[in-house]
Amino acid sequence: MSNPLPEHGSGGRFVRLAETERPTLRLVIDGAPATALEGDTLLVALLTHGRRVRSSEFGDGTRAGFCLMGACQDCWVWDEAGQRLRACSTVVTDGMTVRTTPPASLWPVTPEVAARERGEVFR
């Protein structure tokens, strides 16, 4: 007994089943405009638009959260200021901007990075 594979890549992962009459909020995900409903967590906003929250730092593919109760820390994303947000326990606010990769520019610039940015070889 084998079922056909579901389609991937289109639409969201989570499916809304009720409570869809709430006011709409606007947010920006990785630079692209998106909408959410008032009372949504950031995780729900991300996963009603796409199929991933972030990519594993260990090379085993995309991640989309796991426990939804603040225990597994699988759903970390970042705001524009570089502040880490746990998507499952963060409530969406209107105008919120999130990114699903850490803002690298906010890491302290080490001498070799500074040299590379100047186009020099660090010695």
């Binding site: 007994m1 991937h8 499916v15 409570e19 593919g61």
Partner: protein, 463 residues
Amino acid sequence: MTSPRVVVVGAGPAGVRAAQVLVEAGVRAIVIDEGRRDGGQIYRRQPDGFTRTHAMLYGSEATKAQALHHGFDALRAQIDYRAETLAWNVTAGQIHTVHAPSGETATLDFDALIVCAGATDRLMPVPGWNQAGCYSLGAAQIALKAQACAIGSRVVFMGSGPLLYLVAAQYVKAGAKVEAVLDTAPALPGWAGLRGLLHRPRLLLRGLALKASLRRAGVTVLNGVVPVHIDGTPDGGVSRVVARDALGAERSFGCDAVGLGWHLRAETQLADLARCEFAFEPLSRQWLPRIDADGRSSTQGVYLAGDGARLLGADGAEAAGRLAALAALHDLDHAHGRTLFAAERISLQRTLATMNGFREGLAQAFPWPHAHAAALPNDAVVCRCEAVTAGELRRSVFEFGSQEVNRAKAFSRVGMGRCQGRYCGHAAAEIVAAAASVPVEMVGRLRSQAPVKPLMMSAQEHE
């Protein structure tokens, strides 16, 4: 005498009932809650603006959920309730907290600490479970209860325990498509399990009715399955669950989401940091803090109640929370508290004994399938946080001689990731024990480390 300083951690069934006792005795308690609102996980309250009724959200438990929520609302003016606050460490007579939204920290002195930290899902790795679209059973339920969402458009639930059937039935009722319910436990519980389950006959019948309702809805329900793997792609996430049925035939179920869980594991980190003694509980094969019949831990002034101490479920948690708070007041020589304790102790202990009989039945009817952990292929990811495999964990035994989980953790990093061993720790212990050919209680338990969850670098000490 000045009023004793009592801190309650958690605002689920145990924490709310503990706080209620303190209010009855005229003690203004501090209640630390990681949630935005009271209710804990089981009676989690939906956000403002959601309109589903208690009956829709909590089914047969609606009356209890409502009673707990109303009970807590009535306490609010008489307690210091700190929502969205993590208790991240315990030191002698002090608990350390951080308010998540502001990053403000606080150190609170206590005369009595009542820890009602609850539980998380207990997970068994399945090859492929690190892919996007795999969730814990609790996560599947939270998505529905707190956000009115299903975790996918075609869901397979796999694991064991009452939550497996409850979540699947809730999904069907809410209109989600459930492809299959795959239980690793056999269809019949055996006499010992049945005897335990008969401690709460009505609950047992409700469980059987849930299973029957799934079958009526056309959901494939299989017992005695062995998980084989979860197929998918690194970009797209899960696409199929493959398992062997009770007859050994391979069955495959296409899906775009998987809910996994094998009953629960207690959140014991704060008890551990408070230096409470632990004991191995052979029936459930997990380490639990020692408590006496009233909820006293081995550390003076520290009391433990609810699923974080004994996995008795919500009704048991309510009784345990009440009893632990009464014991704390008794020990603090609080006059009114002593009277209440004397009046209620025996009846609360009797309730807990019934709940414990049922718990033993559940542990036998829905056993933790430890042999699956021992049999995991070497390339299966055990630690989801850092994608560490069973093979790497076994190497810490075979090449580095680890016969103890904390040593194995140091060599392999299993248990060192951002979940701090919550989702890999139990399976890792089974893998290490099997590789070292020793009983699982001999390999010990992962030591808890403060902070019990990752903190922000920007956390500020609040003056």
